[in-house]
């Protein structure tokens, strides 16, 4: 199902959580809402679910306006940050809740519900644990139950709020793959909120980056990394070394030389250079003093400073590790320049 968020604004007591946000979600895609805390990403998710009503704007499921429809009528599967499992119910009862509460005429019979519960437990790899209670599960298992429960009602869209936030790194990685697998298996349109860019970039088909209640950019993980639309995106997604300087006639002028900056208006500007956009070059314009060289798998990372104290993070192939020690000269392959 496609979802259209049209010019939605949401004001909480003091601050605007969403400020004129528009976003189109495609049928069957896995979309990440990425942003720092307070960027409005959770509010956008809750507006979509019907757990908050916007002050302005509208939310459309296909062509149907659901802006002020109740959460109960929207058929969204929602996975909460702390899972919000029903403590007093078994896993099976948790999962079947959405079916159990249907009106008698729409409710599948008992055998059908039991079959569906088994099927979902299998999908999230918890077969046979239906009689357990949530307090008897690990964090990762609770997360899987929450997912199964949200899927039980055949939701039109699956919404996840920081789904892996409370888990340790290993479990998080495996559950990420799991979510991708379940998404691909069910084909349900899925939106998840995260502040972890690695999670967003690895898992999502497209990423929407939010800051201060506005969407800064929407694009595939490659697009937002390689063509950031704003200084915020360039700084927030992926690592970058930052340079302050000035743009004059389509050129960014920094102490160490010039970089192309087509289409950027004249004036003060910032250049963002990705770690992999540096090149080792004996005649390079950038004189860097190396503080540390860290070897990580196939890569050698350089942490250093320029002559005027500007921090530099650069990545090279591992075989360059020795050549990086001491002072090096670098050239810049590519930079993202934005007005400051």
């Amino acid at each position: 199902m496609t979802i259209s968020i049209r010019r939605v604004s949401k004001q909480f007591a003091r601050y605007p959580a969403l400020d004129d946000v528009s976003l189109d979600i495609r049928d069957g895609e896995l979309l990440a809402l990425l942003g720092p805390s307070g960027s409005g990403k959770t509010t956008l998710l809750r507006v979509t679910a019907g757990l908050e009503f916007p002050n302005e704007g509208s939310v459309l499921f296909e062509d149907e306006d659901v802006t002020y429809a109740s959460a109960a009528d929207r058929r969204c599967g929602f996975v909460f940050q702390q899972y919000a499992l029903f403590k007093h119910m078994t896993l099976a009862k948790n999962i079947s809740f959405g079916l159990d509460v249907r009106k008698a005429k729409d409710r599948p019979d008992k055998a059908e519900i039991a079959r569906r519960v088994d099927e979902l437990l299998k999908l999230v790899e918890l077969d046979g644990l239906g009689k357990r209670f949530p307090s008897q599960l690990s964090g990762g298992q609770r997360q899987r139950v929450a997912l199964a429960r949200a899927l039980a009602v055949n939701p039109r869209v699956l919404l996840l709020d920081e789904p892996f936030g409370a888990l340790d790194a290993t479990v998080r990685k495996s559950l990420r793959k799991e979510l991708r697998r379940i998404h691909d298996a069910t084909g349900v349109t899925t939106i998840f909120v995260t502040h972890d860019q690695e999670e967003a970039l690895e898992l999502a088909d497209r990423v929407a980056i939010l800051n201060l209640g506005k969407i800064e950019q929407v694009g595939t993980p490659d697009e937002v990394q390689d063509n950031p639309a704003s200084a915020f995106v360039a700084g927030f997604v992926g690592e970058a070394s930052r340079f302050d300087g000035e743009v004059k006639g389509g050129k960014f002028i920094a102490p160490f030389g010039q970089l192309p900056a087509e289409g950027v208006a004249d004036g003060k500007a910032q250049a963002f250079i990705r770690p992999h956009d540096f090149r080792l070059l004996k005649t390079g314009p950038l004189q860097v003093h190396t503080d540390r060289v860290v070897v990580q798998g196939p890569l050698a990372r350089l942490e250093g400073k320029t002559e005027d104290g500007q921090r530099i993070d650069a990545v090279f192939a591992r075989e360059n590790a020795e050549a990086l020690r001491g002072d090096v000269r670098l050239a810049v392959k590519r930079a993202h320049v934005f007005p400051a």
Binding site: L51, A71, A72, F78, F80, A84, K87, H88, V101
Partner: protein, 279 residues
């Protein structure tokens, strides 16, 4: 060497603290209870039973149970509604409502009783109207019930508000997002989560409803066999130097309280372990 844990207090401190606690409990709780038993049964079981079987005593017991039977359900209804509204919803005047709920705790029960006399009494605001329609509130059962409700007002709500606030709204939101209606969400999600707190509130409320003296004393009029509750009956007997009789009724009141507490403890013990963990 010593098997003391690093966070454990030294032995002498434990002894002092525990002695203090038990000394206080003994002096202020156990001793009075024992006295009640002792005084009631001073001349044996027969006179004590006689005092309870006496018609005025029976009337007092009936009235006390009737009052509790009306006041407790009313306060459960009010308490759950108030706690639900305060803990799960945002609205203006919430802080004011919380303060208001506490009012009966901060106002002297005697004042509470006087308020009802001033409102519903013969010289009160509604006095003439009530008399015209032949409705008696003050110096009658309705006044006693009203005063009891007022005094026991905060028990259930006070018990539930922090509990429900701590639990937050995400389980309810989860239920609604799965298509559950408001009432279904309440019965299937909220109610099981507040069961124990509610039970505790009900028991406290009940204990106070049966034991309330001050407010009831003002509105009752002390008409024997008609508007005397157990605490009032005890006082009258005591003032008439009928010590055995007064302590016998007091003993019954104590037993009611003890039954309530035992009931609470056993209901708690009946809770399956996995649910107790969650609380």
């Amino acid at each position: 060497m010593s098997a003391r844990k690093p966070t454990e207090d030294p032995l002498w401190l434990k002894v002092v603290v525990l002695t203090l606690v038990f000394a206080f409990l003994g002096l202020f709780l156990v001793l009075p209870l024992v006295t009640v038993f002792f005084e009631a049964l001073r001349r044996g079981v027969a006179p004590a039973l006689e005092a309870i079987r006496e018609p005025d005593a029976l009337a007092a017991i009936r009235l006390t149970l009737l009052t509790a039977a009306i006041a407790v359900p009313f306060n459960v209804l009010f308490g759950v509604c108030a706690a639900w509204a305060i803990a799960k919803h945002h609205f203006k005047g919430k802080a004011f409502l919380i303060t208001l709920i506490d009012l009966p705790f901060s106002v002297s029960p005697v004042v509470a009783g006087l308020i009802y006399v001033l409102v519903f009494g013969l010289q009160g605001w509604f006095g003439p109207w009530l008399q015209e329609h032949d409705i008696k509130i003050i110096f009658a059962v309705p006044g006693i019930v009203l005063a009891t409700i007022f005094v026991t007002f905060p028990f259930v709500a006070r018990q539930l508000i922090p509990l429900m606030q701590e639990q937050g709204v995400s389980e309810e939101e989860a239920a609604v997002s799965m298509g559950a209606s408001g009432p279904v969400t309440f019965w299937r999600v909220t109610a099981p989560n507040i069961k124990l707190g509610l039970l505790y509130g009900v028991l406290l409320c009940n204990a106070r409803a049966m034991g309330e003296f001050g407010a009831v004393s003002v509105v009752s009029g002390h008409i024997r066999g008609l508007t005397n509750t157990m605490p009032l009956h005890i006082e009258i007997l005591f003032n008439e130097y009928q010590f055995v009789a007064s302590f016998a009724v007091a003993l019954l009141l104590c037993l009611l309280a003890i039954v309530t507490l035992v009931l609470k403890a056993s209901l708690e013990a009946l809770q399956p372990a996995h649910q107790r963990l969650a609380h």
